[in-house]
Symmetry: D2
Subunit: 284 residues, 4 copies
Amino acid sequence: MQTTLLRLSCPDKIGLLARITNLVAHQGGNLKEVAQFTDPKDGWFFTRMEIETATLRNGLEALRTVIAPLAQELGAEWSLRPAEARPKVVLMVSKLGHCLADLLWRWRSGELAFDIPCVISNHETLRPFAEREGIPFHWVPVTPQNRREAFAEMEALWTSLGADLVVLARYMQILPTEICERWPSRLMNIHHSFLPSFVGANPYQRAYFRGVKLIGATCHYATADLDEGPIIEQEVVRVEHYHSEEDLLRLGRDCERLALARGLRYHLAERVLVRGNRTTVFRD
Amino acid sequence: MQTTLLRLSCPDKIGLLARITNLVAHQGGNLKEVAQFTDPKDGWFFTRMEIETATLRNGLEALRTVIAPLAQELGAEWSLRPAEARPKVVLMVSKLGHCLADLLWRWRSGELAFDIPCVISNHETLRPFAEREGIPFHWVPVTPQNRREAFAEMEALWTSLGADLVVLARYMQILPTEICERWPSRLMNIHHSFLPSFVGANPYQRAYFRGVKLIGATCHYATADLDEGPIIEQEVVRVEHYHSEEDLLRLGRDCERLALARGLRYHLAERVLVRGNRTTVFRD
Amino acid sequence: MQTTLLRLSCPDKIGLLARITNLVAHQGGNLKEVAQFTDPKDGWFFTRMEIETATLRNGLEALRTVIAPLAQELGAEWSLRPAEARPKVVLMVSKLGHCLADLLWRWRSGELAFDIPCVISNHETLRPFAEREGIPFHWVPVTPQNRREAFAEMEALWTSLGADLVVLARYMQILPTEICERWPSRLMNIHHSFLPSFVGANPYQRAYFRGVKLIGATCHYATADLDEGPIIEQEVVRVEHYHSEEDLLRLGRDCERLALARGLRYHLAERVLVRGNRTTVFRD
Amino acid sequence: MQTTLLRLSCPDKIGLLARITNLVAHQGGNLKEVAQFTDPKDGWFFTRMEIETATLRNGLEALRTVIAPLAQELGAEWSLRPAEARPKVVLMVSKLGHCLADLLWRWRSGELAFDIPCVISNHETLRPFAEREGIPFHWVPVTPQNRREAFAEMEALWTSLGADLVVLARYMQILPTEICERWPSRLMNIHHSFLPSFVGANPYQRAYFRGVKLIGATCHYATADLDEGPIIEQEVVRVEHYHSEEDLLRLGRDCERLALARGLRYHLAERVLVRGNRTTVFRD
């Protein structure tokens, strides 16, 4: 059954949900799933709707035509697309392959529906894992000298391949500020700590020395402020005194995989709505 | 800010959410929170709305008047009430006081908003804990001989006190079938296992002998089929080989407290919608 | 069955566990539970043993006599006591009663075995909850002007009452550095965040604004560095975009109660061994 | 650093740990990790030790020589082996590849240390995933007619390849009773429910219809009684009313992967000691 995804956020008003559901109903659209949240703190309205495409008398584009003026009136940020459209997701990696392997399995098995135009890395290590799946692999080394050019090359790749999203799947380089600003809510990172604990480098080592009893991972959108972007998903696991730093790395890998896979899942299904530094995530 | 709670379920139809939100909007009602779920399996529609009471131009009863005919047309099960109305909840206990103590604390501190017309028990053990809070305590011993009369007496108490809900907070007696049938979705039980594991007596002992690595508790509505009623909430905790049966009891108590408190919270806020043996719980 | 608790830590050496267990065996002591951990990072040895007291041919004090010279030779920090000795625990509170209520219930029901010489608070709010349990309540107001005297008065109380441990059960005042230094590993605090996230004031508010997807609580020993002491236990709970700051407070309360109760349990049973800023916790 | 693993269980006696640690100490063995548990219920002693191999004056075999007579005297079940020996693990699969993919990644990356003599399946589906890793793949179709011969063929394979362990990684066939009996604690299964809930077929479907709020997976040793074998590890995940049967399958896959990977990890490191239907798992 084909599905149309509507995602919309705007300042709150009385009657908003009624107006939108009316528009959908007048097109014959059957609502399969509706999520709505009004943030009482700053009076903001968020909604996401799954509409049975076959019931839309005049199709998705006709629905777009009637929603557009309302969205403009409301000052809304919104999107409307077929759920079946597979977003193009570029994967960025360094040498650690656990997140890549996990995403490739979910992609290959169809659990997550997206296309992978390429994998990019600053090392050759993971080339075989991409290429054996038939995915182009680009090696773009990054040095203090070529940083600017290297990232320009990568961003050009993203653009030329029509990337809808770029996933930093344990890509251990810090992205230039301007790139982060040009790709808002389209750069997804997995940080290997339970943010805001252990922002920055070597979080597992620091977790070990702090003696915490839980470690975790955070999936968030990258912004110019390192590790400060809107959080999409977090996962934690209990640790004990007998766990070495190496054990924390091992236990953390499972957290990273799960948090990233869930965050990506929510993003692909238009379930993440960002406002400022907070996300509304209509989880499934 | 006063709030009106609307809860409604019925067979699904195109345009349902639009019709209901229109009715509310026409009364001026500002929707603070809307939850909606359509069960694709059997085509059933569930919704719960929080409406800002002050914005209802003609008040809650006027809204009831316009919703009633729609609900009838739809064959809906529904309710509409002020969130501020405090349901009357009778607490039933035996000798174990941990769930009672937990509920009394949440009630006393205002975390949960309800009134307690009385505590009923088949033992005198917990009388002081109720009475020191100013809550009447009724001792109704149950023996094989007086079972029928004892439960008749208790049900009469519930009725005369206007109980909206009866909570079996580790009340270790099995209720007569007829009573379960007369109080559908109004008898809440906490079972000391992660159902459907260990239905029936001595679940912790059986968990111990089975050697499970997780134990739990289940909050559910009591039905004529013991431990088979609709599940509202469950909680689990990890156990290890070194945990004795007594340890399982101890660890389980925390699960029981949490699962019961959450289940009661959802019920009090009209967040639980029952259909057959499944619940839709719009959690908060 | 009476039990003797031995707790010992020292620099690691080959044959250490053999030497200690030999000493115990030569006294006839039956080991009911042995936990041992060697920290490979800094070569430190930690052990905790539960010995069946009745099997000690010459009793606990004779065992102490044979262990003392070995401990001295090893440069060990150690303790030996009957498990049945009930430590004296002073409870410090402000206005929030959830941790107090939880501890009082576990104390009253016998789940945790300790004595409460008194409850101390800078407010009168919780007096009735202590007094109805027959526990003396001391009101010691703290102002910027009387801080020094107030804490001197409280520390004098602790000392005169023979406190083995002081629990800051949501006591919202910062303790003077000298007091923290005089009571190492004997001041237990519950911090209302998942440390090291949100060190300091208003952690739930900051968690809300950061948009985290999990919040938590941390039970730790207080040290001169605020919120930097050795962590004993942590607990987390998932939160969603629709949870307000007030919801975080509510959800956090259950984390705080559980983390504090567990931390206290481990401490009372001599299960916590501190070295530097890390704890070895032989959990049960 | 090379490590020797000692695992031993027997009826409890006073002085047992002292005798064993003495034997190790007399060989010069440095104990890196000691886990000990005495089951008070049936008086059984379990221990596992990690010994620094380089410190054993006369090597591992000399240690075996001195432990053997003690073990015989005690009626102990025991093993002694270098941690570096890589057990041979045959993987059995059907059509679902998520557990296989997960184990292959952990194997390939070195997170888990074992050899895979072959993958066996009743379908050809997963052949490419094994073969691209250089692992032989055997297709052994099973029909009602050839069941006996098929399993005889497979068991012959296990034996001829010197399998130390056989992992049923979502192998959807029930093994013949005699085979289960011939391979006690050497057949590891992952069951797709939180046992003892939903023993048998279609657990996710049954979980859906029962309306549980948590689903899970169980890693256990296979025995003649289907799904009744000793449990090694369990994992659960919260589910909601809006999760379809298909969603449960998806969420459950992550539980299955984690529970199986952990169970296998514990087994490979000699951390699982079985007695009757219960396991002692000295987790790491």
